[in-house]
Symmetry: C2
Subunit: 389 residues, 2 copies
């Protein structure tokens, strides 16, 4: 177990407090990051429906998943055996029965069929059919979207979690060094990415890395106009930029980072924009103090770029912590106008004010922790346009 | 573009034929593999809602995604610019507006608000909230689950797709060789996985590999009792088995494979079970001929293991092709009792009859293509328990 039983107890207590406040008796938790947060469960089984049930009156949650994954729940959680329940394999990808029919049966068997039930209605692995199955099978329950209730509890980290984030930061620093070292004219993109993966996972002699929730993103050349392209086996070319957005993951805790590498002397436009981006990034981090808000952090960035005639409509960051594919963001607070989330110590963000224009772009980011003394950077890699002459 | 325009035209024609047969005017396609199949779109943007709209009366589909990803759609698809639509960034992870509200507005603007609309109700990235938003915004439309309509069209591959599957097979053969080479007593699991990733992505001098939909799965020691555990930074130990389930991915097309590696002389139980599994695997592949069914393939396996007193309740395989996280299966046909899908040439499966017992387990698998002459194996790696003395 990565965390002490007392840490899990504290997490569950905070979740149940939030449930009571929101009027929920029962939560059906299907986001794998939330399932891990509440129980320690870790396994690549989230391609089939599974859930952790949290009832306000129960000490221990219930894990329900595919039968063949129940052994993984016994191995990775501290749950007592009676709280680990496997469903029959014929529920997998079947037109006529769904794992959530099984979950509904369990809810009924516990006498919770009239409960006020919170659903993670916009979680990645909670499908329309899953939600419709629960609602049809439990017509007397009162269902509501819990609005990412567990994700919002996760937003303030414990010291044990911060320790893992720091190790993840070392992993991404190492992986970014590898990326910059390997990106060179004539080198195939896939060969550089092979070494990036190697650095992410091999880690240090003291600890290794886990899979990251997003694969290495590597827009290159004209592809830098957009953030989410991946590599090919074509070579890097002199005179072109490459955006590298990667993370380190330590036991599922993610520290992401982005840099832009230019091969050869950069165009003036890119060099000038890099200076503005870094100035704006620093202004944003300077504004990230307890009591401030997410929108105030973004406003500090916006003021800088406006002075230089640059405009950006998309958010410049998001909360980070445990990450599962397809995202290492926590899907809660965003650094953008209108987000009045008040910053507290041990909130963690990835500030990534990417600029994507017609045919070119730039990303220079900073993952950070909110402390009483302001933003504390996780990473050591220089915050600048990386030029390889 | 990986495929010729004629191939995309043929795919869309088959999808529209299936839509007409099922009575759908419009399909809202949110599975990223289906989006790529219909348009060529490829980018790691599926952590936010996005869709391809296919209308039976329209030649060209419409791509709707996040604004910053529209440039990726222009670069990776052959869609005309008017058919690529970006939604404003404030729709991302926002409690008060959802990208599917934007999609509903577009549907209304095209005059399709009374259409018979097919939803991918159990796709991984089509959430309950996404479905509820569409249904609430378009009260006069008739919505039904399309039951993985596009996935079912994908099940029979073109020759161009098979060529990519064969390249993916070379990648996984290479990666499995690397895995077996690196797994040794005292070696950290993360160091072996770093090299597995390297082999998957570096590929051959002729072509590189893409990210795979599932990270390397690596249950070891007692962990082999369950299939979906990943690695740690602990060392492999002599006298223990490790299950390696990995894939090669070539432009998103996946060829998965599983093997079990034992360090030192294997226990008799494991060696005996391996022989039964291989015999059963061969029987299953021998039964995989056009005109046969998925359940007949499984029955051939089951007959073998029953003779040896082994029982297995879970499916022994699934259809493969394009894969996106979290799964490289196509979510259509399964090799199991009750699945009467009739085999046709150029269907592709991963036959993976895993045995998981109390404290131990074994996986030896075979990805294959159905041909007129029977099952054709994609991979060359020996089908046996791998023992490193």
């Amino acid at each position: 177990m990565t965390f002490q039983p007392a840490e899990f107890a504290a997490r569950r207590r905070r979740v149940k407090e939030a449930m009571s406040k929101a009027g929920f008796d029962l939560l059906v938790v299907c986001d794998p990051a939330n399932m891990e947060y509440l129980t320690g469960y870790r396994g690549w089984s989230f391609y089939v429906p599974q859930a952790v049930l949290v009832h306000v009156d129960e000490d221990e949650p219930v894990w329900i998943g595919r039968g063949q994954d129940a052994a993984a729940a016994h191995m990775t959680t501290g749950l007592t055996p009676a709280h680990i329940i496997g469903y029959p394999d014929d529920h997998v990808q079947n037109r006529t029965k769904h794992p959530m029919n099984f979950v509904a049966d369990h809810i009924r068997s516990r006498g919770w069929e009239r409960a006020s039930i919170g659903l993670e209605a916009d979680a990645h692995y909670f499908s329309l059919r899953a939600g419709d199955a629960l609602r049809a099978d439990l017509p007397n329950a009162r269902f509501r979207d819990c609005d990412h209730l567990v994700n919002w509890v996760r937003i303030v980290k414990s010291d044990a979690e911060i320790a893992l984030m720091r190790e993840a930061a070392k992993l991404v620093d190492l992986a970014m060094e590898t990326a910059v070292d390997r990106i060179a004219p004539g080198v195939r993109q896939c060969d550089a990415v092979a070494d990036i993966y190697g650095a992410q996972v091999r880690g240090t002699p003291a600890f290794g890395g886990d899979y990251t929730a997003i694969c290495p993103l590597l827009p290159t050349g004209e592809g830098t106009a957009t953030p989410h392209l991946t590599w090919s086996d074509a070579p890097f070319r002199n005179g072109e930029a490459t955006i590298v957005e990667i993370a380190g993951s330590r036991k599922g805790y993610h520290c992401p980072m982005a840099r832009t590498v230019h091969l050869g002397p950069p165009p003036q436009r890119l060099a000038d924009t890099a200076k503005v981006v870094v100035e704006g990034l620093h202004a944003a981090l300077d504004a990230a103090r307890p009591g401030s808000t997410c929108e105030a952090v973004e406003a500090a960035w916006r003021a800088v770029i406006a002075r230089h005639g640059i405009r950006k409509d998309s958010r410049i960051g998001y909360s980070i912590g445990i990450g599962y594919p397809p995202d290492w963001g926590e899907q809660t607070a965003s650094l953008r106008p209108g987000d009045r989330t008040v910053l507290e110590p041990n909130m963690c963000f990835h500030c990534i004010p990417g600029i994507w224009q017609d045919g070119w772009g730039i990303e220079i980011s900073a993952p950070f922790r909110v402390t009483d003394a302001g933003a504390e950077r996780f990473c050591a890699f220089p915050e600048e346009l990386t030029v390889k002459p």
